[in-house]
Amino acid sequence: MTLLAAGEADAATDEPQWVPTRALGRAVLLTGLLLIAGVLLGRVDLVVIATPFAIGTAFALRRRPAAVPKVRLGTDDNHHVEGAALTAGVQVVNRDTVGYDLVVVRTLVSPWLRVEKADRPHVITVARGGSKEIELDGEAQRWGRHPLGPASARITACDGLIAGRPVVSGARNVRVYPMTEPFDADEAMPRAAGLVGGHRSRRPGEGGELAGVRIFGPGDRLRRIDWRVSLRTERLHVAATLSDRDAEVVLLLDVLNEAGRSGGVNGSASVIDTTVRSAAAIAEHYLHRGDRVSLLEYGPVARRLRPATGRRQYLTVLEWLLDVKVYPADFQPYETVFGSQVLSHNALVVVLTPLIDTRSTEMLAQLARSGRYVVAVDTLPDAAAAPNRGPWTEIANRVWRLERDNMIGQLREHGVPVVSWAGAGSLDAVLRDVARLASGPKAVGR
């Protein structure tokens, strides 16, 4: 594995100044003091005591470091997914003619990259003209961009008599993509946008799904003729098909609030964790089926990813999701989010929300009133509860839960299905309802 070939962080270019340590001052002081005292007092024993100090200092200082050491920081090139192994490395390069007796390397590592012994300094030696690498093996615990580095190296040479100022490498971000929970929705889309795509429709047209056999008419293609039926009935018949249609799925991520405690890939999930992981799973599913998927943040920043299809869009979605953050706002961001954005009228809007903010509820109701096909995915973790602050906390928590259930019921009455995220098949039941609603006439309040 070439750790440093890719994503190599540049070391600091400042020339380090090699400085004498207190030990050098001590050695010189003792040597001089003992030799002079020995001569003045006429005592050879003091000269003998001074001998190792003189020899040791002279031996250590026969060559002194002059070149600038280099510190590099790198990671393996793999795409890291939550729970995947991660290998980082810090390399110290000695370009001098003197070996480094002791190099203390410290590296700052995000707590979400569980790197073994990363919180401790590592001490190594580096021979002259050589390099040495410290491998830091760990595990990516949570999605996001996690800082790795900078790494600093403090070098000591000449038996601890000369020390260099710390050399610091650059830092870099490790991208950890969310682990997509298995998701599969079998139900058809409520309304498609075009006459191409992966969803069978009820509209006749060029497609792969057989709708029936009918008598040949003007405009029918010859390759559609069903010769077996035509010979039997002695009249030309053609195989009629349903058109294939694509659809746009808009994933709306509610980033107004965070709740619950994020424990990484093997621990509990917070609201944002569930939001990001489920968004990745839903996007992967629909993009795999050939639909167009766009993403939108419901918050003051209102980031948006344009609709597109294919594997490239899936990678873009994963990249986009890495930057999802909670942005608290004191105002209703509906106009900010939807004011300048043109949301396709036929799009299926999947809103990932914890439903703990009335602004989110109002947004869902407004979307439903405007005739959108809206599905709300409840991302609030089951274990999420207010911190215990007294005997009334439990009761207050229960009342709040009841109010929330009541609000969810009202949303359902307004035609907004709400479903808790549970991986595979989470949306099937609600998509069936939405598809049924979409097939009938609908009055839209404008």
Partner: protein, 188 residues
């Protein structure tokens, strides 16, 4: 005041719980080297009196604070003690005791230099300690040979030779101190 003390106590507690083997070994070696130097420098009777506790505490200070000036002061103190103790019996100094003292003092000095730059919670490659100790051993061996030669030369010479050696030694001492001082100041 109490908060600061509590903070220091917690920091010390954390340092102890996080300490790793090799830095602890190095600091223990500093303590043992100073204790051995005292053993060589002072009369044995002092270790069988109440003063032994004080000696142990004093020897332990550089192990806890190797970056401070206490290491230098303690070496100077031990040498002064040696000079005082042996002032009346200069001719009867045993060679093994002298070599033991010089070896112990140098080991205390170089191990304190190592302990000063070695964090207590560091993950240390074993070769770091092995190379350091090997270099120190080489220096100690060379110094012991030189020491034996010096003592032999001093014992063989008469008064005139000693006077000439004394003057020559003074010149050498000043020269060595000046050279070392110049090496320290020289910019790399």
């Amino acid at each position: 005041m109490i908060g600061a003390l509590t903070g220091r106590f917690r920091a010390a507690q954390l340092a102890v719980t996080r300490a790793t083997l090799i830095p602890l070994l190095v600091r223990s070696a500093v303590f043992v080297a100073f204790l051995a130097a005292m053993g060589f420098a002072f009369p044995p009777a002092i270790f069988f009196a109440r003063t032994v506790a004080a000696l142990v505490v004093v020897a332990a200070i550089p192990a806890f604070a190797p970056r401070g000036a206490i290491t230098t002061l303690l070496i100077v103190g031990i040498v002064v003690g040696w000079v005082v103790v042996t002032a009346e019996v200069v001719e009867g100094i045993q060679l093994w005791r002298l070599l033991g003292l010089s070896t112990a003092l140098y080991l205390a000095h170089t191990l304190a230099a190592l302990a000063a730059v070695l964090p207590t919670d560091a993950v240390v490659a074993p070769e770091v300690l092995a190379r350091w100790v090997a270099r120190a051993a080489a220096v100690v061996l060379a110094a012991a040979v030189c020491g034996v030669l010096l003592v032999s030369i001093a014992g063989a010479g008469g008064d005139k030779v000693l006077t000439a050696a004394g003057l020559g030694g003074l010149v050498v001492a000043v020269t060595v101190a000046a050279v070392l001082g110049w090496l320290v100041k020289r910019r790399t």
